[in-house]
Symmetry: C2
Subunit: 402 residues, 2 copies
Amino acid sequence: MFNIAIAQSGGPTAAINASLTGVFAEASKVPLIDEIYGAENGIEGIINDRFVNLRNILTDEHDMELLMHTPSTILGSCRFKLKDHKESEDDYKKILATFEKHNIKAFFYIGGNDSMDTVLKLNGYFTEKGIDIKVIGIPKTIDNDLPETDHTPGFGSAAKYVATSLQEIIRDSRVYSIPSVTIVEIMGRDAGWLTASSCVLRANGEPAPHLIYLPEKEFSPEKYLADVKKALDRYKAVLVAVSEGIRFPGAHYDEHKDAFGHTQNAGIGKLLENYTKEHLNCKVRSIELNVMQRCSSHIASLTDLLEAKRAGEAAVTACIGNNCTGVMIILKRLSNNPYRVEMLTTPIENVANKEKKFPTEWITPEGNNVSIDALNYFLPLIQGEPVLEFRNGVPVHFRLDQ
Amino acid sequence: MFNIAIAQSGGPTAAINASLTGVFAEASKVPLIDEIYGAENGIEGIINDRFVNLRNILTDEHDMELLMHTPSTILGSCRFKLKDHKESEDDYKKILATFEKHNIKAFFYIGGNDSMDTVLKLNGYFTEKGIDIKVIGIPKTIDNDLPETDHTPGFGSAAKYVATSLQEIIRDSRVYSIPSVTIVEIMGRDAGWLTASSCVLRANGEPAPHLIYLPEKEFSPEKYLADVKKALDRYKAVLVAVSEGIRFPGAHYDEHKDAFGHTQNAGIGKLLENYTKEHLNCKVRSIELNVMQRCSSHIASLTDLLEAKRAGEAAVTACIGNNCTGVMIILKRLSNNPYRVEMLTTPIENVANKEKKFPTEWITPEGNNVSIDALNYFLPLIQGEPVLEFRNGVPVHFRLDQ
């Protein structure tokens, strides 16, 4: 008998708890596994020995069901970068001490490319030292920027929220008789996946968003202005989807960097709003979808939630059934119609600290929209709506504390 | 036989099309009514004779069902202030010409307190001239600031969106181990109703939002800072709900006014974020819920939608059945448990250009939250979820054009 640990890391998504549910459900079926621990605030909780016993918390099917539909991370998260163990072994020793103290033989880390850096380093350390503790990564990010995997759990729900909200913003933007430009800033750091996914509305005959700008293509303000003018000739209310990762040439950015050295690019929407107002005589507004796009579980994609859960289950199978370590679960798309996905593994060095950009061949030659291939890629990911439990008019969330 | 006209005015809501559906459905039952016209862009469409024949557009139950769940105004809207006819009769003559040309004997105007000014003036003009055209107002505003009526159609859906999103933002804000303050700016111009409605989460045992600031109470930055500090002693992640109508003393506001002279108060959230950062050593973020709070039909309140429809039906009954003119439909709450509402009328002069503020007796003595009476008032308004038709992963909207 041995115990296992799970932790969650990086930015919240609507599906990260679904992956935890998957690990828990699958691990519960393995007779060799005794306790299933959750570490608070990612790897920080392992370093500092802050655990909750998930068997005490997830006591029945109803708890599991609620957790599936609760956004963000029930265990908390972190943005902690583990130093190379050759540089400093301190944290590694603490982690090992915690694992040994609790007889933990397998560690499941749900996160994005930064979190996979932790999986890589930890697995490297254990392997080098001949320590038999398995480390498995489970992908999660609304940015969809992990290599090797067709897409990442969490992305589909964010895309469904973005599409649903954009469709409503389109209706809202069309009410007055004067021409208008509405600029919607969408998350995704340096990758344009989430912004590009707004093209799904086209499947329902919606011409908006009329213009889509991604960080994978150099942004020209002059070209943008010409694009908007042209769109205004045809449409009364023009909707522009713009990635937060777009760089406006010459603009001053607040170069705040996080613990991983990523620049925080807030504000392109407002910047473009002001620029458009300066040059065009029409109503201009910018909207930031903000954290709602990563935590709106009330309009999550059922496909995404179920895949997130399957990724959690597959991680347990890979680790316990197939004796894997130092790998991340990846999703391989088998077919689009019917949509089918299989869960595989990839060595962690293939994904850690790496980033998958939106394919430039899916950007239209004009650089202001995306192709039908992109549409076909995105559409299956946003299908299906979860049935939620409501109490007093709002969805019931699973809560550990206040 | 005669014809009727319907128009929509003011800011969009998730329920304004439901009221139109109600007028259409009830008018369709009246044998004396021949055509049912919709005017484009509110009273502007009447002045300029821009009509659509709703019988050609709403052809079956499915159309009606889709329209019920489509946000914003299918006919477009306006912010047009009719001059007093003693000052200038031009627009009145145009309106009359349009009505006479199309044999329109009753006009239904769905809108807020500014739109009711149009109903008041038009009815006054027709009465004075002895013209037999009835004018009826149907209330609509997410601000909930119309007098006489218990609440306004559109408000409940906005409140449900705000509560649902705040609950998700709360989950999102709690993931990291460091203390944080999240400030959410909520719409409502000079009335705090929508911001106050965020208290509904308390019914599910959620302590957040920990602080609620409304324009009905003078805002003191020093007191605010002390409130936040105290909340941080108890809660790791403090959530502040703040009305866009709050005035930060000494701050420079962009005094842009709309056609009705209302100041556009954008930016209090960002202002408070910067102020908090200056004075407190913790993570601070501000979020503007923006237009999503008035157009998120995907999380509309079923209670609200059904009441909005009933208000439309009641307007036809009042006009055709009871021969009323120069009135607005009001909602009277009969009981809370079970929640029951009846539709009545009030003379238009009781509501036009008047504003109902959030009751100060429902604000706690500390001025930073609301009472249980407020909670009991709000709770029934956000109950129930509509069953939506989805296509390609997003709700299907009823669309007239591109």
